[in-house]
């Protein structure tokens, strides 16, 4: 929609953008300003050497759970998407639609049975106990994206490989995977970010503070009656805990945006 623009129109557009940007930057500015307003930069040192809260531990836990979830989701969503896209089998559409119907199911609606089943198989307060439901709820959208991706690849590739005598797994690994780099990266990045941001599941299933990911570990910096100094330290902690997300965002912007667009356009 490029067209000749009059100067007032351009000015009005900038005015809207600047006004909105100011509103969006305000909370971020508040967090950074408040983190040094009482106690100065020393707050960051205090948070990093806190007696009851370990920053590196929390970040490590988040990385471990989000990373493992993302890897498993990349594997099983590409395997499933491959079958749903290229193979014919009985009940295919029923299974696919039954899975996608769960996209609308909120985790919050099922916390009671989730807690009960994770607890009864002895996985309460373990990383695995959080990772399993994380995979279960996040994999469905990724399955849809992988299937759409495989649908977009030319059928002739598979037909030619089959004539050459390749089995289904060899086609998956040697023909299709090399063409799926960016789709897989998108699935991996989205799964990682969604799992990193999850609060409800780890809060429900973990009880040892040493195992808390960042989202739950925030509570370790909050107390009943907080002094101004403690609030500043909390803000310092929040800023520190946002840094990994911002880094992930900077390094994977392309895939994150692609994923947002793909997930929304096709769902």
């Amino acid at each position: 929609m490029t067209m000749r623009r009059r100067l007032p129109a351009q000015f009005a557009m900038y005015a809207v953008l600047v006004l909105l940007a100011a509103m969006w930057l305000y909370p971020i500015g508040v967090a950074i300003y408040k983190s040094v307003s009482v106690g100065g930069w020393h707050n960051y040192a205090v948070v990093l050497h806190h007696p009851t809260f370990s920053y590196w531990n929390a970040v490590g836990n988040s990385f471990l759970m989000a990373g493992l979830t993302a890897v498993v989701i990349m594997i099983i969503s590409s395997l499933g998407g491959y079958a749903f896209s290229t193979m014919e089998f009985r009940g295919k559409n029923v299974i696919y639609n039954a899975l996608l119907a769960c996209l609308a199911v909120p985790i919050a609606a099922l916390i009671t049975p989730l807690f009960f089943s994770i607890n009864s198989i002895g996985l309460r307060d373990t990383y695995l106990g959080v990772i399993i439901p994380l995979i279960a709820f996040n994999v469905l959208m990724m399955l849809m994206m992988m299937r759409n991706h495989f649908d977009s690849l030319p059928r002739e590739l598979i037909e030619a490989a089959t004539l050459d005598g390749c089995g289904t797994f060899r086609i998956y690994r040697q023909v299709l995977m090399p063409l799926s780099g960016s789709a897989l990266a998108t699935v991996g990045v989205l799964s990682f970010v969604y799992s990193w941001n999850e609060y409800l599941l780890p809060n429900l299933l973990l009880k040892t503070p040493d195992k808390f990911p960042v989202t739950v570990a925030i509570s370790l910096l909050q107390f009943d009656r907080m002094s101004q100094e403690q609030i500043s330290q909390l803000y310092a902690g929040l800023v520190l805990m946002t840094i990994p997300s911002v880094l992930v965002y900077l390094f994977s912007q392309r895939y994150l945006r692609a994923g947002v667009a793909a997930g929304a356009v096709k769902s």
């Binding site: 490029t2 809207v16 609308a104 807690f115 709820f137 994999v139 909050q222 945006r257 667009a261």
Partner: protein, 289 residues
């Protein structure tokens, strides 16, 4: 033998997803349906009580407050996010200098954890020493000793709505932005020749062409509204009293109070609403085509 193996192969590929996701979710739904008919306390005792929980729920004041809050949240967030997202997408699509910086600013909150954003806003909204009131006092918008209760029973839901818009407007923007790319340039050129102005092109071409995109955002908004938990639980916790409860926090509260049967009933109602609204939206979208 080889034929049977070939016929079974596809199932091996879908097995991991079905085993982890399908089984866990559908078993949980079945379990919830059963538990919603009992007086289970989450541990042992589990007696069948029929539809008693459902009757209790319909008479529960908190349920109606939560339902109202969910609906208000849904309507306001979906429309404001769509309107602002479209506006920003259209403006940045004009290829103004620096528009990529603006896009990055609006998109950034999507990568940030709602739990962290919620905590930042919670202290920012605090009435006495919170930054928002301090800023408003400094700008003389409110009196020097005035303390607006952003998380009180009147404004609480609106503040939660604001947090959601902060986090998700960039999402609508990106989705609209990719939708804009798909509109053929010729449509605009033809309209220009006919002398259509900016506003006529927006309402005559852009918005109708993006109808599919808008539908998607509405569906995602419905689902997102029912999934909203962190930004409520970590700011107001449903309070003061029960004024800012959402269905999800109401359920969480019931579960914490050892009313697992009742919590399951709330869960069933959430699932039912999700199902009905999604169906309705799909119906409407199909009719428009």
């Amino acid at each position: 033998m080889a034929g049977a193996r070939r016929r079974l192969t596809p199932y091996l590929y879908v097995l991991p997803i079905v085993a982890i996701s399908g089984v866990l979710i559908y078993l949980s739904i079945g379990f919830t349906a059963w538990a919603s008919l009992t007086d289970w306390n989450g541990l042992r005792r589990m007696d069948f009580v029929g539809l008693q929980n459902y009757a209790t729920l319909l008479a529960d004041r908190t349920f109606w407050i939560a339902l109202r809050n969910n609906l208000l949240f849904l309507v306001v967030t979906v429309s404001v996010q769509a309107a602002l997202g479209l506006l920003v997408a259209v403006i940045t699509n004009e290829r103004l200098r620096g528009s990529n910086v603006f896009k990055a600013i609006f998109f950034l909150p999507i990568a940030m954890a709602p739990a962290i954003i919620a905590t930042v806003f919670k202290y920012m909204f605090e009435a006495n020493y919170g930054s928002l009131n301090e800023t408003l006092r400094a700008l003389k918008i409110i009196g020097p000793h005035q303390a607006v209760e952003w998380l009180g029973s009147d404004l609480g839901v609106w503040s939660i709505i604001a947090i959601n818009i902060f986090q998700w407007m960039g999402f609508s923007m990106m989705v609209y932005y990719s939708g804009l790319m798909a509109i053929p340039e010729e449509l605009y050129e033809a309209a220009m020749i006919d002398g259509a102005g900016w506003w006529r092109r927006l309402t005559g071409i852009t918005i109708p062409s993006l109808r599919g995109t808008t539908n998607v955002l509405v569906v995602l908004g419905i689902v997102g509204s029912l999934k909203t938990f962190d930004i409520v639980w970590l700011t107001t916790g449903g309070g003061p009293g029960v004024s800012t409860h959402f269905l999800s926090t109401f359920l969480y509260q019931a579960r914490s109070n050892r009313e697992a049967g009742y919590a399951s009933t709330i869960g069933m109602v959430i699932l039912l609403i999700a199902f009905v609204l999604s169906m309705l939206q799909i119906k409407l979208a199909n009719r428009q085509k």
